[in-house]
């Protein structure tokens, strides 16, 4: 693969990226803009939104604190998943300041009543995300393998897909994933960052680096979630 020199400051000597032979055998997931406005009161063009404490909203984790909404979309395109032989758990990791924690809502596949979302189920069971240090370490390794380093004061907070109680990592077989993805699965994801030790201080919005991958295959993708959606984005 031919290496493109980056113009980003601090990455001038980025080494070439070599992809493993089985790269295409992974669970392919692609980021995209969110498409379900109104969940948790977030408007259609908002991916990053800093809020002061406000009235409770059902499913909102940090309404009573200063918090930063982090919202994006993703798609599992139709795929054969021929490379999936064991059980795998999708993973998501995001780079946030060390003074903050980030917590997640379930995967929303549609708008429910009011500001609620309708959650993804796999084999009849609602799926959530659970914090996992290994996921954070995985993102650190994958990101640094591209020659990049996070800015000072940031770390990767990682999650694996979990049961509804957010206590146990859930892993899925190829057949389960095929049934779930079908002709393609499109969903919105909401996370909320807040101060690790609550402060009476607003959170300055920042661009969020996000990694989508899983705990077994070699597929991964990074993207940068902008504070403001660029004009012309579709």
């Amino acid at each position: 693969m031919e290496h493109q020199q980056s113009q980003e400051p601090g990455n001038a000597e980025r080494p070439p990226v070599s992809l493993p032979e089985n790269y295409q055998e992974g669970l392919v997931v692609r980021p995209c803009l969110p498409s379900i406005p109104g969940i948790l009161g977030i408007g259609p063009d908002q991916c990053i939104a800093s809020h002061a404490p406000h009235e409770p909203i059902k499913e909102h984790l940090h309404a009573h604190f200063n918090h930063l909404h982090i919202r994006y979309g993703f798609e599992f395109p139709r795929q054969t998943l021929e490379g999936i032989r064991g059980l795998i758990s999708p993973a998501v990791m995001m780079a946030i300041p060390v003074e903050q924690r980030v917590d997640c809502n379930p995967i929303f596949v549609a708008r429910g009543g009011g500001a609620e979302g309708i959650n993804l189920h796999i084999d009849g069971e609602e799926v959530h995300w659970v914090h996992h240090d290994e996921a954070g370490a995985q993102a650190t390794e994958l990101y640094e393998a591209t020659g990049r380093k996070l800015p000072d004061g940031f770390y990767w907070s990682g999650f694996y897909m979990s049961d509804v109680e957010e206590r146990k990592v859930r892993r899925f077989s190829r057949e389960q994933l095929l049934r779930t993805i079908g002709l393609g699965l499109r969903a919105d994801q909401h996370f909320q960052a807040t101060w690790r030790e609550p402060r009476d201080e607003p959170i300055e919005p920042y661009e969020v680096l996000i990694c989508l991958t899983d705990d077994q295959t070699s597929y991964f993708t990074f993207f940068r979630l902008p504070i403001v959606v660029p004009i012309g984005t579709s």
């Binding site: 060390v98 954070g136 004061g153 990767w156 957010e166």
Partner: protein, 108 residues
């Protein structure tokens, strides 16, 4: 629902309390978990141990301080007047509900 053995000699004990109802707008929210530090003179101050539904913060805190946490089952009602500290926990010994940043293998 639990107890933490304090290392600060000024503290008599620390209770882990699950909040069942939101009593006031500025107070702790329902379904949150508090750490109530009771001093030797009987005064108590409380702050969040976890403010979202779920046990992950408790698991992490007890895992980080093995042997200092005790589950109380069945849970017993707890109604006391305490000093509420939603921000600025400096008066209480910190409880690391997430791993310290230096132990994450992070890149900074």
């Amino acid at each position: 629902m639990g107890e933490r053995v304090p290392t600060d000699a000024a503290l008599k004990t620390e209770w882990v309390v699950y909040v069942t109802v939101t009593a006031s707008q500025s107070g702790p929210v329902a379904d949150s978990v508090l750490l109530v530090a009771v001093s030797q003179d009987g005064n108590a101050s409380a702050r969040y141990l976890s403010w979202i539904v779920g046990y992950e913060d408790l698991d992490r805190a007890s895992g980080a301080e093995s042997g200092r946490w005790r589950l109380i089952e069945p849970a017993t009602p707890y109604v006391e007047k305490v000093s509420w500290q939603p921000f600025g926990w400096g008066a209480l010994e910190p409880v690391w509900t997430h791993a310290r940043s230096s132990s994450r293998g992070e890149s900074h």
